[in-house]
């Protein structure tokens, strides 16, 4: 029996990692947004097209509100196309 459990352990660990959740460190899931107009995210410098789902956790809430008011994003459900993270460094002087 002990051999079975030993063999089973390595296969169970990757299974737990499979569901890719975008979450805060305390386990809560962050809201995601649907792109309505073409945008570049400062977090990864990539372009996202209308219809794609993105995570905007790199933005402060006021900025998200700004973009929602201008119909650049809308609230949505789904798996984000981007990897959440901090804003990328490229802009040095602005």
């Amino acid at each position: 029996m002990s051999e079975e459990t030993k063999e089973a352990q390595p296969t169970e660990e990757p299974q737990e990692e499979k569901p890719k959740k975008v979450g805060l460190q305390d386990g809560r899931q962050t809201p995601v947004y649907r792109v309505l107009q073409m945008v570049n995210l400062t977090s990864d410098h990539q372009t996202y097209r209308p219809g794609q789902i993105v995570d905007l956790s790199h933005l402060p809430q006021e900025s998200i509100r700004y973009f929602l008011d201008r119909h650049i994003f809308e609230t949505a459900d789904g798996e984000p196309a981007n990897v959440p993270g901090n804003p990328a460094e490229p802009c040095k002087n602005c």
Binding site: T42, L59, S63, F67, C94
Partner: protein
């Protein structure tokens, strides 16, 4: 009437894309010449009028010229552009620039990410009577330029 907020391009961001990901070259490129896109036009004349009958057609392709400061060593993006240019029958390369910087709420303009092609490359040269930095130039031809906001 209030003056509009003036902006300068001193903080402009420039990226290129070969494939699917944008790569920043703001430390290498120096100038993006603003392209002018036009539409095809037509005209005709009739005997009974003294002015032309004018028509407008589709948007014509545009060429975006970028100039970069060249440095020795294969790490310089010039060599990436050169490799792309040497691709038989043309290499795909898209350019993106953000005139007022790549921070949230600012805009970027980019050439088509699927069909833009590098059609011209000017190699770095030299002049013994000059202390100017060595530069190169590339031209990207694209059917469209698209705007996207930074978020």
């Amino acid at each position: 009437m209030a003056l509009p907020a003036g902006m300068s391009s001193c903080a402009m961001c420039v990226d290129y894309m070969i494939g699917t990901a944008w790569v920043t070259v703001l430390d290498n490129l120096s100038v993006i010449e603003p392209p002018t896109q036009t539409r095809m036009t037509g005209e005709g004349y009739v005997f009974g009028e003294d002015i032309a009958l004018t028509t407008v057609g589709k948007r014509e392709p545009v060429e975006v010229t970028a100039r970069g400061i060249w440095a020795e060593g294969t790490a310089d993006p010039f060599y990436i552009f050169m490799t792309t240019f040497e691709t038989a029958c043309g290499g795909k390369l898209a350019l993106r620039w953000s005139p007022a910087g790549c921070v949230t709420t600012h805009d970027s303009f980019f050439t088509s990410t699927t069909v833009s092609e590098l059609i011209s490359l000017t190699y770095p040269g030299g002049d013994a009577a000059s202390a100017d930095v060595l530069m190169y130039e590339l031209v990207v031809r694209t059917p469209s330029i698209t705007r996207a906001a930074w978020a």
